[in-house]
């Protein structure tokens, strides 16, 4: 319900039918948005971050789950993995901000070891051009989540037994890993991975603190457009929000269809 209200209001605003700056129906705002490179860079930038984060985090988590397996499932280490989930993203962003920045902790450590003689010699990963700060922070949180996800699946799906079956059928460890274990884990995890990707795509706090003015991730770009006190920007913001919402909803619908298919089989 509230979502519907939000979408309708956003649509009205974006088409010039409502809002402070309304001048009657127009699609100009959409044309402005769709013809400005700004929207595409934000969109593309968000996808760039999302893809890199998800690919690296999934790979790290797979490696982590398979090497740490037993320790992850039981014992003290399992609590350690949950720690990143107990840290709010804004705090994670703050910690990265203080560690990775030009005069942050890492820079100081390098200085202490005489590897640099001035903070400016350290590139710093806050507001950096490749957004390594954002990616790094996201990866830490995502990897922890994925390791927990994979190890739960590992246990639920009796992967150890599949492993024995596969071995008894004559495949070696490596083939089993590639042909059985990893596909099983990924297949079961794919809905959660995609959903997580949608979260990363729309993430706000981390890019807000660690990102540059340009390009901005989509949430940051939209929020900033709303907060600028330029009335002409508000319909543009609504239009962007609407396009973003449509994109997310489409992704979800596709995901749901696929998920249902898996259930039917």
């Amino acid at each position: 319900m509230p979502l519907l209200l939000a979408v309708i209001y956003a649509a009205l605003n974006a088409t010039g039918l409502a809002g402070i700056d309304a001048h009657g129906f127009t699609l100009n705002t959409f044309i402005t948005v769709l013809s400005s490179s700004n929207f595409y860079t934000s969109f593309g930038f968000s996808i760039y971050i999302t893809l890199i984060v998800i690919i690296i985090a999934v790979a790290l988590a797979l490696w982590g789950t398979l090497t740490l397996k037993k320790d992850v499932l039981h014992g003290r280490i399992s609590y350690l993995l949950y720690v990143p989930l107990a840290v709010p993203v804004i705090v994670a962003a703050f910690i990265s901000f203080q560690s990775l920045g030009q005069s942050g902790l890492i820079s100081r450590i390098l200085y202490a070891f005489n590897l640099i003689s001035d903070p400016s010699q350290f590139a710093g990963f806050v507001n950096d051009p490749l957004s390594i700060g954002i990616i790094f922070t996201q990866i830490i949180i995502a990897s922890a989540f994925f390791v927990i996800l994979f190890s739960t699946i590992y246990e639920n799906e009796n992967v150890d037994r599949l492993h024995s079956v596969s071995s008894s059928l004559g495949s070696n460890h490596k083939t089993t890993l590639i042909k059985v274990i990893i596909p099983v884990l990924i297949k079961k995890a794919i809905p959660s991975i995609i959903l997580y990707a949608i979260f990363v795509f729309g993430s706000y706090e981390i890019p807000l603190l660690l990102g540059r003015q340009d390009p901005q991730m989509i949430s940051v770009a939209i929020a900033r457009k709303f907060q600028l006190y330029n009335l002409h920007d508000v319909p543009v913001a609504y239009a962007m929000a609407l396009l973003y919402t449509i994109f997310v909803i489409t992704c979800l619908i596709i995901l749901f269809r696929k998920k249902k298919l898996i259930h039917d089989v």
Binding site: V83, A86, Q98, L195, F199, S219, F226
Partner: protein, 254 residues
């Protein structure tokens, strides 16, 4: 066992270090380049913590109040609505709808909804923030409890009914005891979602409803890293305590 030691150490450093780092920043007052460890000069931070209206105690309590209210209301309503959805003919569609507000970026959602909050004079108020958070936490509660209802609990209810238990008896003697753990997990997970929320809170609260996350952001903006660290520490402690109590309290499953 001993061979695996290095892995443990690396993990420890990666995961525990940030929190120690926060602690150091929070309880110090200066950190000039190139010193490694922040220095402690006076206890002005402590004074700020307890003094006056804007004290951390007040902010902390307000955050707790908001999150507990949002969690209780979301769990209570989500529990029953999830039941209706779980046995509804259009279950999949309704569930998909529940995913929408949950998957959208809260800040974008808030931005689009802000007009209605302004209309009802809720922008910048604590109840406004609570309602806004409810809008995203409630669908999560539905998604969480949906699988709980799907797990066969209904057969126990029906069994109790054929044995003569009326609706009230069934609820208190069967449903509630069987769902106790799930409700507890749901409550803490909802609490944490609300507790961590920044974008939406900041937008609907217009920066005036000062929760801990909002404070962290404001202090960073003022370049006061020590107070930002202090707020961060306060933010991290309750979830860590919950984690210590039960891992499931903090793991939100998507």
């Amino acid at each position: 066992m001993f061979k695996k030691r290095p892995k443990f150490v690396v993990l420890w450093i990666c995961l525990i270090f940030p929190i120690l780092f926060l602690g150091m920043l929070a309880f110090s007052s200066t950190w000039r380049f190139p010193t490694l460890i922040p220095e402690f000069k006076d206890n002005s931070n402590f004074e700020l913590m307890v003094s006056g209206d804007a004290s951390f105690v007040m902010i902390f309590l307000r955050s707790v109040l908001i999150s507990i209210t949002v969690a209780i209301v979301s769990v209570a309503t989500g529990f029953f609505i999830a039941k209706v959805i779980a046995f509804h003919k259009k279950r999949n569609l309704l569930l998909l709808l529940a995913y929408f507000p949950f998957a959208l970026s809260p800040v974008v959602f808030a931005a689009c909804l802000n007009y209605f909050f302004t209309l009802f004079l809720l922008s910048g108020t604590t109840p406004g923030v609570m309602i806004a958070q409810f809008i995203i936490v409630f669908p999560y509660a539905i998604i969480l409890f949906n699988s709980h209802w799907g797990s066969g609990i209904i057969a126990y209810e029906q069994s109790a009914a054929t044995l003569g238990g009326n609706a009230v008896q069934r609820f208190f003697r069967v449903t509630l005891p069987l769902s106790k753990n799930m409700l507890l997990i749901g409550f803490f997970q909802c609490f944490i979602i609300s507790w961590f929320e920044f974008g939406l809170t900041n937008f609907i609260g217009m920066g005036q409803v000062k929760t801990l996350t909002v404070k962290v952001f404001q202090y960073i903006g003022e370049a006061n890293i020590h107070l930002a660290a202090m707020s961060s520490l306060l933010l991290v402690i309750p979830p860590l305590l919950l984690l210590w109590a039960n891992k499931k309290f903090v793991l939100r499953n998507y």
